[in-house]
């Protein structure tokens, strides 16, 4: 890579970091197509760089989200049981299943979820509801400081088993396809468990690094991580994610939804296209 290409990759990664931190996803949605289409990088190495991007977004953003109380660490750790188990199962299954059909299926699921999300665009906070016995026993209740509303907002997780199963699916998808797992996590916490959007995004960000780390060893061992590409990606994404994490607390939950919806549409379309044999 030339200096010009390094700067270009850094700039796109910076943007990917900001968007990823706000939407609760890893930024592969921007990094992979930019590397393949603008810089002619092989799809295999582009996906290896996107794993680095996911972990950089997660650690860069979560450092601030955890400190500021935006991340629910109990919800995150409880659900990581599901995502790490899923990720290992997905990686083990990878040799046995044809990924093309799975990409198509996941792409359709994400696009369908985007339609559902569109109906929730105007929702600032989920309806107030009591904690189920399971949520109470697992302490999946809490509050987050909302700088925008100027108060602490309490919440209680709903439909915990459904959220857990969706997280298992997000883990399998991550281990198997390495795409779309951040979007699925936000959907599980926002849509199924009805956590506030900012908590869903910040907690997804906290979790995606761990899910990605569970399969990072495989990518590293296979030679899919090219340091000459991953270096500008990692630096750009880290800087972007740290900036994005400073912006999120001041946004309304509605604005975060407005960032998440196009990301969800793009991830859905990208996944579908990859299933149809178009590597973007």
């Amino acid at each position: 890579m030339t200096l010009g290409a390094d700067i270009g990759i850094f700039a796109i990664s910076l943007l990917a970091g900001v968007v990823g931190a706000l939407a609760g996803v890893g930024g592969g949605i921007l990094v992979v197509p930019a590397l393949t289409m603008l810089f002619g990088v092989d799809i295999r190495l582009a996906i290896g760089a996107s794993i680095v991007s996911v972990i950089a977004t997660s650690s860069g953003a979560a450092a601030a989200y955890v400190r500021d109380g935006m991340t629910d660490m109990r919800v995150g750790m409880f659900l990581e049981l599901a995502t790490t188990t899923g990720a290992v199962s997905g990686a083990l299954l990878a040799a046995a299943v044809a990924p093309a059909a799975l990409y198509v299926l996941l792409g359709l699921v994400l696009l369908f979820s985007a339609a559902q999300q569109a109906f929730r665009l105007g929702e600032e906070l989920p309806p107030v509801a009591g904690a189920s016995p399971l949520a109470a026993r697992m302490r999946l209740v809490g509050s987050y400081p909302d700088a925008r509303l100027g108060r602490d907002v309490p919440y209680a997780a709903q439909r915990v088993p459904l959220g857990f199963v969706m997280m298992l699916g997000a883990g399998v998808v991550s281990g198997l396809l390495g795409i779309g797992s951040g979007a699925l996590k936000v959907l599980a916490m926002d849509g199924a468990m009805r956590l506030p959007m900012k908590v869903s995004s910040a907690t997804s960000n906290f979790m995606i690094g761990v899910t990605a780390a569970a399969s990072a060893g495989i990518y590293l061992g296979r030679g899919d991580v090219d340091p000459t590409l991953a270096a500008p990606v990692a630096l750009g994404v880290l800087a972007g994610a740290m900036a994005g994490a400073r912006i999120l607390p001041r946004l309304s939950n509605r604005s975060v939804r407005l960032v998440f919806l196009p990301v969800l549409l793009a991830v859905g379309a990208q996944t579908l296209l990859r299933g149809l044999g178009v590597g973007v």
Binding site: V66, M77, V88
Partner: protein, 119 residues
């Protein structure tokens, strides 16, 4: 351990991981602009190992090759979530939350198993 100290511990681990990896990667990238990724700051002979071969990281570092610093930085980045989970185990333990100490310890075990068993 109160909730504030808990958060400071976990976010502190993330910040250290981010700073260490970004410093190493940035040093690798900056020196690569001077001597090339496979060049050497100590004048050691270039080698033919692929930059994607992390098995060569030790040799690259010994020869002060930019690619070696970037590789070590990337490994530090990939290790940061693992360190964060380990710190969470300690934090839940200090807080006296046995349920979440157990949950987090299981996540750590799955994570370590996946790193060492899935190759």
């Amino acid at each position: 351990m109160n909730a504030d100290r808990f958060r400071v511990l976990v976010s502190g681990v993330l910040i250290v991981g981010v700073v260490v990896s970004a410093t190493l990667v940035a040093f690798g990238l900056a020196t690569a602009l001077l001597v090339g990724w496979g060049g050497s700051l100590s004048g050691a002979a270039p080698d033919g190992t692929a930059v994607t071969a992390f098995a060569g990281m030790g040799a690259n570092l010994a020869a002060l090759r930019p690619v070696g610093f970037a590789q070590l930085g990337l490994v530090a980045l990939l290790a940061t979530p693992v360190a964060r989970v380990a710190a969470s185990v300690a934090a839940f333990l200090l807080e006296g939350d046995h349920l979440y100490t157990a949950i987090t310890a299981v996540v750590l075990l799955i994570l370590l198993a996946s790193l060492f068993l899935l190759r």
